[in-house]
Symmetry: C2
C-alpha cells in the first residue's frame, strides 16, 4: 500500500528568507543589453527613470547574487508567507507512479496567486520615491488585482489596462481590482492613441498583453511625470522578487530530506517559473547537479518552443525598449485561451537566455489537457488550480508518468502559482465540452515575426 498520508512542509516566519536571489551570476554568459527603440543603442538607468523608480532600475541591472528584502516588504509578505510546500501523495497514488511529486503553493496569498510577491515591493519602492500613481496592464487579472492590493496598502493610486478578452471572461478579477480601489479599463480602449490605432484596424479586437502594455506605457509617458509604470512579469527585477518562492522551496526540500530531479513551472512572461527555478539553477551550478528545468507553456502562444531568439519590442505598438528574447513577433495576437496570464508574445530575457543556452527545457500544451490535469489534481489534492498553474500540473504529470513507464524514481517539484476560484467559468466550459483547443497559428506567427525590428 502506498503511503497516502498528507505531508506539508512549513517554515516559521523567522525562517523566511531575508534576500531575493539574483540569477545573473549563474548565467552561462552575460545578459544582452536593452536597446533604445529609436537609436538601437544600449539604454542606461537614466533612460528608464521616467518609467520606474531608481531602486527598481538598479535591481534590474544588478549583478549581485543576493539582494536584501526590505523589512517593510517582509512584514507584508508574512500575511501569507512562508507559503506551504506539499508532497502530493494522493496524486502519486492516483497515478501509481514511483515518482515523488512536491508542489509549492502560492494560492494562499490574498490575491490567490504569486503576483503579490512582486506587487508589494514594487509599491514599496515607488512609495519610497514619492510616487503617488502607478499605471499597469493585466492579462487574466492576477497581476492587476495584486498591484491594486499593494497600492491600497501603501496609499498609491492604481490604474489598470485589462486585456479585453479577460475583462469579459473574468469579470470577478475586475471587480476585485475595483474593490481594492483601482480603476480598470478594458484594453484596447479609446483612452490612448495606441488603443485607438488598434480599434481602427479591428473594432472587435479582444486585445493582448502587448497592446495593454502599449496603452499603459503611453499613459505614463503622457502623464507629465505624475505616474510611473509597473510590469508584473518579464523584467529582471520582477523575476527577482519572485525568487522568494524558490528560496523557501530549497529550505522546505531540505526539511523533506529530498531534492528535485526536475523543477517545473508555467511560463507566460516567466515570473513564477523564474521564482521557483532560479535558486535551484544556482544550486545546480554551484554543486554541479544535473537538475532539469521544464517551462510549460500554451500550444497557442508558444514563445519558448516556437519563438525566435531575437531583439523585439515588449509591446505591440513598439513603444518599449528592445530586449533580446524568445518572441512570436511583437504584434502577434494570441488566441483567447483561458490561461489569460500566459497570452504574451515574448518571454523574459533571462529565461530566454537560459533556454537558448540549454539550461532549461520547454514544453507546450493544449488547454483541454490542462483542465484534464487540473481536475485530477483537484480530486486528489483538493485544490482546483488556475488554468495558468495547470500547465505546471500537466508538466509534472508528464514527468511522473514517464518515470512510471521507465519504472524509475524521479523527484518532481512544481510551482502551483494560483488557485482557480476566479476561473470556474473556464472549468464550466471544459466540463460541458465547450472548451476549444487552438492549433499553433504558424502563419500568423511567421507574419508577425517578419514585422520585427531589424537590429
Amino acid at each position: 500500500m502506498p503511503d497516502t498520508r498528507h505531508t506539508k512542509y512549513l517554515l516559521s516566519e523567522d525562517e523566511m528568507p531575508k534576500t531575493w536571489y539574483n540569477v545573473v551570476p549563474d548565467l552561462p554568459r552575460p545578459p544582452e543589453p536593452v536597446l533604445h527603440p529609436g537609436t538601437k543603442q544600449p539604454v542606461g538607468p537614466g533612460d528608464l527613470a521616467p518609467l520606474f523608480p531608481m531602486a527598481l532600475i538598479l535591481q534590474e541591472v544588478s549583478g549581485d547574487q543576493y539582494i536584501e528584502i526590505p523589512e517593510a516588504v517582509r512584514d507584508i509578505y508574512k500575511q501569507w508567507r512562508p507559503s506551504p510546500l506539499f508532497r502530493a501523495r494522493r496524486l502519486e497514488k492516483a497515478l501509481d507512479t514511483p515518482a515523488r511529486i512536491y508542489y509549492k503553493y502560492e494560492g494562499v496569498s490574498p490575491a490567490g496567486s504569486h503576483k503579490p510577491n512582486t506587487a508589494v515591493p514594487q509599491a514599496y519602492y515607488n512609495k519610497q520615491e514619492g510616487v503617488t500613481k502607478i499605471i499597469t496592464e493585466t492579462g487574466a487579472g492576477q497581476w492587476g488585482s495584486s498591484l491594486a492590493m499593494a497600492g491600497a496598502m501603501f496609499g498609491i493610486e492604481i490604474e489598470v489596462f485589462m486585456v479585453k478578452v479577460s475583462y469579459n471572461q473574468k469579470p470577478y478579477r475586475r471587480s476585485m481590482m475595483q474593490a481594492y480601489g483601482a480603476s480598470v479599463h478594458a484594453s484596447p480602449s479609446d483612452l490612448t492613441q495606441a488603443g485607438r490605432a488598434i480599434l481602427a484596424q479591428d473594432p472587435d479586437s479582444t486585445g493582448s498583453l502587448g497592446i495593454a502594455i502599449s496603452e499603459a506605457v503611453e499613459m505614463v509617458a503622457t502623464s507629465g511625470g505624475k505616474a510611473k509604470y509597473s510590469l508584473g512579469s518579464v523584467l529582471n527585477h520582477v523575476l527577482l522578487h519572485q525568487t522568494i518562492i524558490g528560496q523557501e522551496a530549497l529550505l522546505q526540500m531540505a526539511q523533506a530530506d529530498d531534492y528535485p530531479d526536475v523543477v517545473v513551472g508555467c511560463t507566460g512572461g516567466g515570473s513564477n517559473f523564474a521564482g521557483i527555478s532560479f535558486p535551484f539553477i544556482g544550486e545546480a551550478r554551484k554543486k554541479g547537479l544535473n537538475t532539469r528545468f521544464v517551462a510549460a507553456e500554451p500550444m497557442s502562444c508558444p514563445s519558448l518552443t516556437k519563438g525566435v531568439y531575437a531583439y523585439d519590442f515588449g509591446d505591440t505598438l513598439g513603444m518599449t525598449p528592445l530586449v533580446k528574447m524568445h518572441t512570436l513577433g511583437h504584434d502577434f495576437i494570441p488566441p483567447g485561451i483561458h490561461a489569460g496570464g500566459l497570452r504574451y508574445h515574448g518571454m523574459s530575457p533571462l529565461i530566454s537566455l537560459l533556454h537558448d543556452a540549454g539550461v532549461i527545457e520547454a514544453k507546450a500544451y493544449h488547454q483541454t489537457s490542462i483542465f484534464e490535469a487540473n481536475l485530477l489534481f483537484g480530486k486528489t489534492e483538493g485544490i482546483l488550480p488556475a488554468p495558468e498553474a495547470g500547465h505546471a500540473v500537466k508538466g509534472a504529470l508528464d514527468e511522473a508518468l514517464q518515470a512510471k513507464e521507465e519504472g524509475k524514481e524521479r523527484v518532481i517539484l512544481f510551482n502551483l502559482c494560483g488557485h482557480g476560484h476566479f476561473d470556474m467559468a473556464a472549468y464550466d466550459a471544459y466540463l460541458s465540452g465547450k472548451l476549444e483547443d487552438y492549433e499553433y497559428p504558424a502563419e500568423a506567427v511567421a507574419a508577425a515575426q517578419a514585422r520585427m525590428p531589424v537590429v
Copy 2:
C-alpha cells in the same frame, strides 16, 4: 506611532488539536430533546439511522467534553490546518482604536471557507460505514463545494440541491462542485414532491435553505437505503467538527500572550460561530471569565434577534424532526441577500439555548454595511471576505469603535470564515450602488410563525 507590523500566529502540524470540543457539558441546562414530527415524542438514535451513519448520530447525542479526531481526518485537515491567526494591526490603525483585533482565517482551505472542517469527517464516517452516496443541500455553495471535495477524496458520490438564488448569483460555486465530480440541482427542482409543491405555489420561487433541505431529505428517504443525508450546519455533530477552529485559536491567543474580551462570529445555521466560540465558552465557565460572545446575523433573516425560541421543523415542508431553536417560522423565505450562507429560518439548537440562557448576544446588520466593512478590511488586511464572513468583520468593527469611544482597551477575536473570491459579483453590485438593503420582513415572519407546529 502605532505598531503596524504584521503579526501572524501559527501552530505546527504537531500542535494541531487531536480532539474536537463538545460544549454540551458547559451548557447551563441540558439540551432539549429532538422530537418526531408525527408523534412529537423524543426520537432515539435508531430514528436517525436512515439519514446518518451511526458514528455521527452518537456524536450528535454525546455528552463527552472531548471527542477524538480520527487520524485519517487529521491527515486531510493538514492540507490547510492549522489555519493562521492574525493580529489586524493595519485595521486597528485605520480605525485609530485602542482595541486589539485578532482574526482566525479559515479561507485558506481548498474550498475557501471553514466548511471542509466538517465535510471531511462526515465523508470519512460515511465511508467507514459503507455509504456510497450522500445527498445534501447548499445555500451559497460553500457547503456543497466542500462536501463535493471530501466526496472526491473518499470516493463517495455527492448530489447537491443548491438554493436557486445562489445557483444563479454564484454559478462559479456550482462549477466548483461539478469540477469535484458532484451533481447539482437548482432548488426548488421538479425532481422531488417537495420541490414540485413549492413550484406549484410559486413558479418563480428563488428557493431557500429550508426548501433545499426538504428536497434532499425526501430524495434520501425515497432512495431505498442507497443514500445518506448530510447537513453543513445546525446539528450538534456539525458544530462539534468546527470546534477545531476555536481549539486552535485558544493555543494561538496564548502564543500572542493575550485573551479575548469578546469573541465574534457570523451566524446562519451557527457552525462557524460555534467553531470559534465553543472552546472559549468552556474556558469562561471553567475559569469564571466574563468573556462576551457576539453572533452577527443579517437584518433580513434575523433568527436570533427576532426569532422565537420554540420547536419547529428544520425544513420548509415539515419533513425533518422538530428541534427547539430560534426560528422565524419553517416556511419563511428570506430575501435574496448575497450572504446566501446565512439565509436560514432557524438557528442551531445549541446556539439557541446559549442565547436563550444569556450566554451569548446577537446583533443584526444590513448588507450594505457588511460590504462597507469588507472593503475597509480588504484595503488594510489584504483579504476580501465573503459576504457571510463580513458580518463578523462588521461585528468586530463595532466593538473596536465602541472601545475607541470609551477610550478603553478591548481584545476582540473574530472568525473570518471564508474569502470572497466567489462573491465578486456582490462586491460589484455594492461598488456600483446597486446593492439593496431589505427591511426586516416582520409581517412575513409573523405569518410564518403562526404556521409553526404546536408542541
